[in-house]
Symmetry: D2
Subunit: 339 residues, 4 copies
C-alpha cells in the first residue's frame, strides 16, 4: 500500500482527495494537514465518520514526509513553493495542485501572481500534469504541477486542432462557466448561498484571470506559435462543473464530421476523454464526480468557425481526480484505478 499525505486537507481539493483516495485500493492515507486547530477528520468532514480515523492538524512538511511515500499539496500558490522542496529533499514524490510549478517562465509567474518565486530551480524538472499530453514525463517525474481547472477544460478542447495547425491562433475565444466550488471554501459575502441562489449568473475577471498564463503557455506549446487567448470566466449557481465554449476560427475548410475524426484520433486510447458523437453536446452533469472530460464539436464551414465545448468536474479532472490519475501513472498503477 502506498502511503500518501495531503497538505491543505481543509479545502475543497483536499476534501475531494480524501474522498477519492478512500476508495483507492492501493493507497492508504497516513497524514492529513491543514491550517486549523487539531481535530478528528470526522469533525472536519462529518460525512467521513466511520470511514477514516485520523486527526487533521497544522503539521510541518518534514513530519508529513516521514509518514508518507507521496504527498499531495492542495494548497494556495506561494505556500506550495515553501513545502515542496522540503518533501522532495526527503525523496518523496510531490503532486502540487497550486500554480507554483506550472508556469515555466518565472517572469510571467511573478507578474500574474505578484510574488517572487522562491525556488525557480524546481521548475526545470516539474512536469505539467496533464496525462493526455505529458504521460511519459509524468511517469518519470518527482514533482507534478497539477493543471488548473479552467486550463484543463480549455487545453483538452483545443489540443487536436492546434496540433493540426488549422486554427487562426490570433483570435481564440474561451467563454468558460464554472460551478461555485471553483472559488474555494473561505467564507466570502459574495459566495453565500443567499447571494448565489437568487438567480445569479455572472462573468468575472474578463481577460484577467490567473489561469490565463497557464492556458497561453500550453496552447502555445501545442501550436508552436505564441498564443494570447481571450478568456471570460463566469460563475454558475451550481456546486461543481466547468463548461468551456471555445470559438476557433479555422484556417482550413473542414466539416463537423472531419473535425470529430481529428479529435477521436488525437484522443484514441484516452479513457478519460470522451469525444461525443455528432449532434451530442456535453453537459456538466454527465461528468460531475467523475474524472472524464466530455468534448462536443460543431463546425460551420461557411463561417470558418468551430465551436468546441468541453465539460469537466472542476474538483475531479480539474483538480483532485487528475492528481490521482497522475499518481497512478507515477506509481505504475492502472491509470483509472480508484477513479
Amino acid at each position: 500500500m502506498l502511503k500518501v499525505g495531503i497538505m491543505g486537507a481543509s479545502g475543497f481539493a483536499g476534501e475531494e482527495l480524501i474522498r477519492i483516495l478512500l476508495a483507492h485500493p492501493e493507497v492508504k492515507i497516513t497524514a492529513l494537514a491543514a491550517k486549523i486547530e487539531r481535530m478528528h477528520v470526522s469533525k472536519l468532514y462529518p460525512w467521513s465518520k466511520a470511514m477514516l480515523d485520523m486527526d487533521c492538524f497544522d503539521m510541518r512538511a518534514e513530519d508529513i514526509g516521514k509518514k508518507t511515500d507521496a504527498v499531495f499539496l492542495a494548497l494556495p500558490h506561494k505556500v506550495s513553493m515553501d513545502f515542496a522542496p522540503v518533501l522532495l529533499k526527503q525523496g518523496k514524490k510531490v503532486i502540487d495542485l497550486s500554480a507554483d510549478f506550472r508556469i515555466k517562465d518565472i517572469a510571467v509567474y511573478e507578474k500574474w501572481y505578484e510574488i517572487k518565486h522562491e525556488c525557480p530551480e524546481y521548475l526545470k524538472n516539474s512536469v505539467y500534469g496533464l496525462p493526455e499530453l505529458y504521460r511519459r514525463d509524468i511517469k518519470a517525474a518527482d514533482l507534478i504541477a497539477n493543471p488548473g481547472c479552467y486550463p484543463t477544460s480549455i487545453i483538452l478542447g483545443c489540443a487536436p486542432f492546434l496540433k493540426k495547425k488549422i486554427v487562426d491562433t490570433d483570435y481564440i475565444i474561451c467563454d468558460s462557466k464554472s460551478g461555485v466550488s471553483g472559488a474555494g471554501r473561505s467564507p466570502v459575502q459574495a459566495l453565500m448561498f443567499t447571494e448565489i441562489a437568487t438567480n445569479s449568473f455572472r462573468p468575472y475577471k474578463v481577460n484577467f484571470h490567473r489561469h490565463m498564463p497557464e492556458i497561453d503557455q500550453e496552447l502555445s506549446n501545442l501550436a508552436g506559435v505564441k498564443i494570447d487567448v481571450n478568456f471570460t470566466p463566469h460563475l454558475v449557481p451550481m456546486e461543481r462543473g466547468i463548461l468551456s465554449t471555445i470559438y476557433l476560427k479555422l484556417a482550413k475548410k473542414i466539416n463537423t464530421k472531419e473535425a470529430l475524426e481529428i479529435y477521436k484520433d488525437f484522443y484514441k486510447g484516452e479513457y478519460f476523454v470522451r469525444v461525443l458523437e455528432d449532434g451530442q453536446l456535453p453537459d456538466t452533469k454527465n461528468v460531475v464526480r467523475s474524472n472524464f472530460c466530455d468534448i462536443g464539436i460543431k463546425v460551420f464551414p461557411e463561417k470558418s468557425l468551430a465551436v468546441v465545448m468541453t465539460a469537466i468536474d472542476n474538483l475531479v479532472k480539474g483538480a483532485s481526480g487528475q492528481a490521482v490519475q497522475n499518481m497512478n501513472i507515477m506509481y505504475g498503477f492502472e491509470e483509472k484505478l480508484g477513479l
Copy 2:
C-alpha cells in the same frame, strides 16, 4: 409623503424594506444607515441603480430622526434598544424588527438573549406588531415590536384553535423549516453556497432557538394558560420562505371541515391570511415575495390530531412586509398599500 428612514439597511430585512418602500406610493425613503463605510446605495445594492439616489452610511440615530417621520430598525437585538429611545424622544414613530421590545417579561428576555435590557420602561408601551391580533393597539402605538419570522408562522397557525380552547396545551409540536436568508447576511462558512447547495437539509437548535420565548408568550396569551412549546427549526436549501408544520392534540372531536370554519371565521376580513380549502396545502413558493400567510389544515378525529401547516415569506410577512403593514396601520394608509 411620509418620510422614513431605515437603520440596518445592509442586512436582509433592511434590503427588503428598501425594495418594498420604493414601490409604496405614500412613502419617501429619506435616510439609510448601516455599519459600513459610506457608499451610494447602488453600490451596496446594484439592483437599485436608477431607482434610489442616496448614500448609506453609519449615521447617528439622532441625525436620522431629524430627516424622518418614522424609522425602521432592522438591527440585531441589543443594538435596537440603544437607538429606539433616542428616536422616540424626538417624537418619531419606531418600528423595531429586533427582539428587544417583544418579550414583556424582562427576566425571560435577559435569560434568552444573555444581556441586560437597558430600557425596560419602553416595554410597557411597545406593541407586538402582529396586526391580525393587535391591530387596535398598533394604530395607537409609537413603538412597534415587529414579530420574528418563526413566531409569525406559528402564532397565526395556532391562534384560532387556542382561542377556542380546544387544544391540549401540554404537547404542542412545531416543526418549522426556513430558507437560508433567515440566518442573516454575515459571511459564515456553514452558509456558503457550496455548503448548502449540496443536498443539505438539517435541523438546528432543537428546543433552543431564541424565538421560543416569543412564541410561548403569545400562545399563552391566546390560550389563557402557560404554554411551553416544542420547537424544531430546520434549514431548507432555498433563499426564502418558512413552512411550519404544527401538531396539535385536540381536546374536542372535530373534523377538517369544522376546523376550517373555525379558521375562516377567525381570519374573516384579514387580507393577508389565506385559509386554504379542504384538500389544499400551503407551499412556500405561493407566498414568497408577498405578505400573505397561507394556512392549510388536516384534522384526524380518530387520532384527536390536527396538523396545521402555515407558509410565509420570512423576509416579508416574517419581517419587512409585516413592518410596512404595521406602518400602514399606524399612519391610516390602506393596510395593503404597497404590499
Copy 3:
C-alpha cells in the same frame, strides 16, 4: 382604467403578465384565456388567491375582444397569427409575445419556423417592440411584435457599436446563458428538477436557435449591412435571467472608457438600460424581476476586442415586462408605470 386581456395565461409569460398588471395602477385585467379546462385563476396560480377573482378558460379571441381594449398574446408562434387578425379587426390593440410578427422577411420566417405564414399582410404594420430603438413607431402601432428574450439581450448589447459602425460585422460571437423558464412550462423530462439541479450546465442548438433570424434582422438594420451572427445558447440551473457575453472585433482602436461613453450616450434618457461603470460587470440577480437591462463593457484595444455583457430577466425585459412597457407607450402612460 384600461381593460386588458391575456391569451395564453397558463404559460410563464402569461403568468408574469398577470403579476405585473395586478400592480399596474391604470390597468384592469378583464379576461384570461388558456387552453385548459375552465378554472378559477387562484387554482391555476395559488399565489394569486385573494388578488384576482376571475376564471381562466379556453375563450375565443372574439369574445376576449369584446371584454377588452388591448390584448396580450402570450402564445406559441403560429397560434398568435390565428388570433391577432380577429382582435385587430375588432379595433383592439394587440401585443404579441410570439415570433409571428417579428420577422419581416416571410421566407426567412417560414424557413426557421417551418410553417406557412397565414397573414403576411399584417407584417407591414407590425412594429418590433424594442422601445429603445422603435419608441416612436410603437406609440402609433396597433400590433406590436414583442421581441424574444435572447434577441433583447443581444440587440441592446450591440446597438451602440453597430450604429457607430466600428464593428467587424463578419465575426460577431454571442455566447448566451438563460435560466430554465426560457424553455417554457410544458412537462419535459429534460427540464425536471432532478435533471437540472444535479450540477447541469449545457449548451444547446448551437447556431440553430429560432431567435437567430430575429437577431440577424435587427443587427443588420442597425449596421446597415447584412449580419449573420454566431449564437450559442446555454441552459443555466436557475429559474430566470439571461446573460449574454458578446465578443465584437472592433474596427477602430478605442478603450473601455471611450466605449462606455458611446454606450451612455446612446442610451441617454433610457430608464431601463443601465450602462455600468468601468470595472462593474452585470449579474442576472440584479435584474431579476425587473425590467432593467444591465450592460457591462470591457475593451482590449491591443486585441481589437470588445466584450459586451448584458443581463436581463428573460420573463420581464425579455417578455412580459417589455410588453407592458410597450403598452405604456401605446397608451401614453408613464413608460415605467407598474414596472
Copy 4:
C-alpha cells in the same frame, strides 16, 4: 463474478444501481431492462459512456433470468409481482425495490395500493430487507422486499426506543422531508425545475402516504403492540436526501446521554448506522451518495419528549444502496463491499 440484472433500469433506483454496481468488485451487470425503445445505455445515461457497453431494452423476465444469477427489480409496485415469480421459479435470487412483497397483511396491501395481490403465496418467504433488523433472514432469503425510503429513515430512528418499550406508542409523530428524486422520474408539471427551484417547500399526503402501512407494520413488530403512526412527508428543493424528525413521548425519564447509550448499544457493530455524539445533529449532505444512516437525538426529560432525527440518501440507504447491502449479505460478500 456474480452476474446481475436490473429491471427498471430507466428509473432513479435503476440508475443508482448501475452506478453502485459498476464499482462493485465482485459483480458484473449482464442485463438491463426498461420499458423504453432499445438503446445503448450510454444514450440513456451519457455519464456511463465508456464505463458500460450494453443495450437496455424491454426484455422479458425469463430472458433476464437466463443471463443472470440475481435480479434487482427497480419497478413500480404491481409490475414487480408479475416478474418476481418468473425469476424465482428459474432459481434466481430477487431483490425487489417495490412495495409488492413488503406488507405481510394482504388486506392492508390491497387497501393502500388499490389492486389485488396476485401472488400472496410469496409473502410468506419474502424478507423485509432492513439488514440492521433482519440480517439473519436476509442471508437465507431468495426474495428480498427492499424497504421504502421514508420507512428506512423512520424505522431505524425508532427501533432502539421501541425495542426498549419506553415510548408512548399512541402518539408517534414523524415529520419527514425528502429530496425530489423520491418522486420518481416521470415528467410531471409539479416537479419541473421551474416549479421547485422557486423557493418551494411543501407538505403532501398528510397521513395518507403509501409508506405508512409499511412503517406501521415494522414499528408494531418492534414494539410488540399495534402502532398507528402520524406521518407528514414534505418535498425539499434538492435532488436527494431524507431527513426525518421524529417526536416520541417517553414513558420513562431518561436524558440525552442515556438515550444515546441505548442507541449506540442497539447499533453496535452496524457500519451503516452512525449514532452522532451529543450536540451533533444530522445533515442530509453528510449521507448523500453513501449508504449511511446518521441519527441525532435530543431528549427533554422535563417534557418527556425525545426528538430523534435521522438522515439517509433516499436513493442509496433508502433504495439501491440498501439493495446492494442485501445482495452482499445474501452472497456472503463483505457487507460494505462496493458501498
